[in-house]
Amino acid sequence: MHSGNCIIIHPWSLVQIGLTNILQSLKVDVGAVYSFSPENEIIQTWNDLIVLIDTTKIEMIRKHCKSFKRRNIALIGIHVDDSPVPDDPLLDEILYPSDTQGMIFNKLRPFSNFGKNKQPSLHLSDRETAVLKLVATGFSNKQISEKLFISIHTVISHRKHITVKLGVKSISGLTLYAVLNDLIE
């Protein structure tokens, strides 16, 4: 889970920096910036936040978008040029290169309260959150390593970090934490 309430997915550094500055003025914390679409296990951990994404990357996350409304995720497209984007019911708003700072500010302001009421995440990384979800769902270290394409040693290392950060050791305790923080049903 991210410490902030917003995620930016865009390959251009200038776009990443510019949007981060505008979002900060709206008191929206950018928790993570990706140049490419993150892995499925990470996307599945998202809840209650704003996702700003390069419109050319939407197809890569489309299969997850059906649950975005239920998970209180606002999806905002960042278009590559000023040609109109075809209607896409998944997008809550679209930003264009010619938008002024004021226009971007006005477009983003309605979403600025997203994620403000969620519980503090104690700053688990995306990978740790993905591991926590699988541990809480009952998967073994070996199964987790296969699902996330990482070594068992790395899984154990993530689990140690999770325990230190949360102060919770047992699987039942981790499951309780995951339920209370909407990581699993």
Binding site: P120, L122, S172
Partner: protein
């Protein structure tokens, strides 16, 4: 002048007055009850109390000091295993008759204060599951482990006894889980107390869980450090 800070480190001795011992550590009161001492605590010493209530004084001192100080540990070979299992059984009864009902009543109060919230529902579920596992663990101990004490000469080695012996080592991992899960619950409650809520109910729950955790740790010390090693020593050659 009374100095609880320094006295807490001092060992409890036979000539200490019971009221003074309890004044130093009031958490020992339910332990004293388990020895059948529930009245006339006045000025009498532990030695006098043990005579009046027909209690083994050395065992009483060993138990009180173990619960009183995390650093103290009795001479394991001098402990009478029959007395120990009798005391541990009474601790189980206390758990079932006092601690668990108290936790249940506190959960009911929480449900009244915060009805139908995710926190209340999931905490209650966690606690119920935990208590079910704890009851299974207690049943396991009383069914398989404690009866071995009565057979400590090892003369009768029926299949049931062999089964019990083979389960002895399982106790260690079970104790570890019992303690860790309650410690985890305390941490999670601390992290999720809602804003603008009545803090007193959470304080009561945490206070009870904290006492419960301490008692579980001390209870497990008797079993893991005295009972199981002694039984393994007695029956080890029969594996």
């Amino acid at each position: 002048m009374r100095d609880p800070g320094s006295k807490k480190q001092a060992l409890i001795e036979a000539d200490d007055q019971l009221c003074d011992v309890l004044g130093r550590n009031i958490d020992l009161l339910p332990i004293v009850y388990r020895f059948g001492i529930s009245s006339n605590m006045g000025q009498s010493t532990l030695e006098e109390n043990s005579l009046n209530h027909k209690i083994d004084l050395d065992f009483l001192l060993a138990v009180l000091n173990t619960y009183h100080s995390g650093n103290y540990f009795p001479n394991t070979d001098s402990i009478d295993l029959g007395l120990l299992t009798d005391f541990l059984t009474k601790t189980h009864q206390h758990l079932k008759q006092v601690t668990i009902p108290l936790l249940g009543s506190l959960m009911q109060s929480l449900k009244i204060k915060l009805p139908d919230t995710k926190l209340t529902i999931t905490l209650e579920q966690y606690l119920n599951d935990y208590i079910t596992r704890l009851m299974d663990h207690i049943e396991f101990e009383e069914k398989y482990i404690f009866p071995l004490v009565g057979l400590r000469n090892g003369n009768r080695m029926g299949s049931e006894v062999k089964t019990s012996i083979s389960k002895l080592k399982k106790l260690f991992s079970q104790h570890n889980n019992v303690e860790t899960e309650i410690s985890d619950l305390i941490m999670i409650i601390l992290q999720h107390i809602p804003e603008n809520t009545d803090i007193q109910i959470f304080h009561d729950i945490l206070h009870t869980l904290s006492h419960f955790e301490k008692e579980q740790v001390d209870h497990a010390r008797f079993e893991d450090k005295i009972l199981v090693p002694r039984l393994l020593k007695l029956f080890g050659s029969k594996f």
